[in-house]
Symmetry: C2
Subunit: 290 residues, 2 copies
């Protein structure tokens, strides 16, 4: 049973006449006629009802055509899987729960995997990240904790390496009502108008759920947000990582926020089965802890 027969049978079930199939598949009518004869002979079963100038699939033929379509979709699946795997092999894709470790990790990967493309994705929750790691969509992921899962024989499924820490602070003008405090908690921000970026991973949910009655002015352009923060009296957030991307405190004060949810340790995680592939990367990561 050769592929071309399967293809033509499936097309015949769809287009009903040999002529139409010939037209669609860019092949001559006699070719189709012969293929179908040969297929029928190979199967050893009548799958057509023939009159002198009409050929129709019989009940068994319809079953055969169903299977033919299934085989063709299996072919397409194979092609897609192989090419998709290859594409992923040529790009280093990772996922992160927050932007700062994403920015930190990118240059490290860039140095280590010279010439390879890098693609990173930000998520607010860890479920998609872990799932992506499982599917090999992500080579590594950045979470707020290590993954300790074991397989049935007790061996770890993942390798977790501590990465950077990040500590949140509120950036306020010197005239703000909170400006004289040395530190504060999220609940102290109740009712404030706050300028925030909206692609900040897990921070977004933390802010939304831990600060009561705040009004969030969301921005999705980082440069614009920085401008507005400088030009207005609106408070905004910074972290120990903010300077890494060129945000300067200017005339404002950064007041540390003490809730444990906003003083976090990131972890870089890969599958244990790929330990060797990423040993060098995990090594490099261990060096930038601070």
């Amino acid at each position: 049973m050769e592929t071309y027969m399967i293809e033509q049978l499936a097309a015949l079930a769809e287009h009903k006449t040999l002529s139409k199939v010939a037209e669609v598949l860019h092949i001559s009518q006699p070719a189709i006629s012969r293929s179908m004869q040969k297929l029928e002979e190979e199967l050893g079963v009548k799958i057509f009802e023939r009159t002198k100038n009409r050929i129709v699939l019989n009940e068994i033929g319809e079953i055969a055509a169903k299977h033919a379509q299934h085989i063709l979709s299996a072919h397409r699946d194979m092609l897609y899987a192989v090419r998709e795997s290859d594409r992923r092999r040529k790009i280093f894709t990772f996922g992160a729960i927050a932007p700062a470790p994403m920015w930190e990790l990118t240059p490290i990967i860039s140095q280590l995997y010279l010439g390879m493309g890098i693609h990173s994705e930000l998520h607010e929750t860890e479920t998609e990240l872990i799932q992506g790691l499982e599917n090999d969509v992500y080579r590594v992921i950045i979470l707020l904790h290590p993954l300790e899962d074991k397989d049935s024989t007790g061996n770890p499924l993942y390798i977790s390496t501590p990465f950077i820490q990040e500590n949140l602070a509120l950036l306020v003008s010197k005239t703000h009502r909170l400006a004289r405090k040395k530190s504060l908690f999220l609940k102290d921000l109740a009712g404030e108008k706050l300028l925030i970026h909206n692609k900040i991973g897990f921070w977004y949910q933390v802010c939304k759920t831990k600060i009561p009655n705040a009004l969030f002015l969301e921005q999705n352009d980082l440069a614009a947000l920085s401008e507005i923060a400088n030009a207005s009296a609106l408070p905004t957030f910074v972290t120990n990582m903010s300077d890494r991307i060129g945000i300067q405190p200017s005339e404002k004060l950064a007041i540390p926020i003490l809730d444990k949810e906003v003083n976090v340790q990131f972890w870089c995680i890969c599958k244990a089965s790929k330990k060797k592939d990423y040993a060098a990367l995990l090594n490099a990561i261990a060096l930038v802890q601070r």
Copy 2:
């Protein structure tokens, strides 16, 4: 992607070397070598790690091979389904809940479908029968009641035609304690030793559950059972259908049993979608009601 490539890739994943594949598939080594090169080229993706005299599937190659095996099994499924359907087309197979309608139906089918094989199966419960009808394993089935199921548009899914009736009686010697009764109920047989056949469809369960504390002496050879029944004082069962297969009452008395579970009407049922195919059969069946 031609079938031969798929086949060879799957075989390579299994046998590891081109030489072994060549041996197994009865084809020359160079042929395999070229096929795999061509496949790799068609995919446009490196699926092998090659050294000068060694070829190994890489990670993507393993994925490809998995898919190849899946495609091959789809091929086998197609072949099996087609041939199995053809086999069924050449044999009239039906299922029944009791032997008597099976014996009655067989000659009717035999006359109507001259030259076609006939195969019948007996079941104690109706679930396998209905499932078999659904799967087209059985063309028709014999149950104790019609099937009234409708599809989503309210059209009947099945055609049910009344067939024969069967009424059970106890066959006892004239000296038996029950011999003077004109009729009886199953519960009257409590504690008796009873000679029965064990391939009697639904009767088996009825006897087992409706007669308290009886001792059943099971026989699976019909002729032997008949002999023993004649030669011994043991009571056994007959029905209005028994004479059809040559069982004679001899010197014994047949006492009707009145429970409704053992005075039954059989129904012959086919799929509504095959109504036309079996119209003649259902017609013939309607004539033998009695």
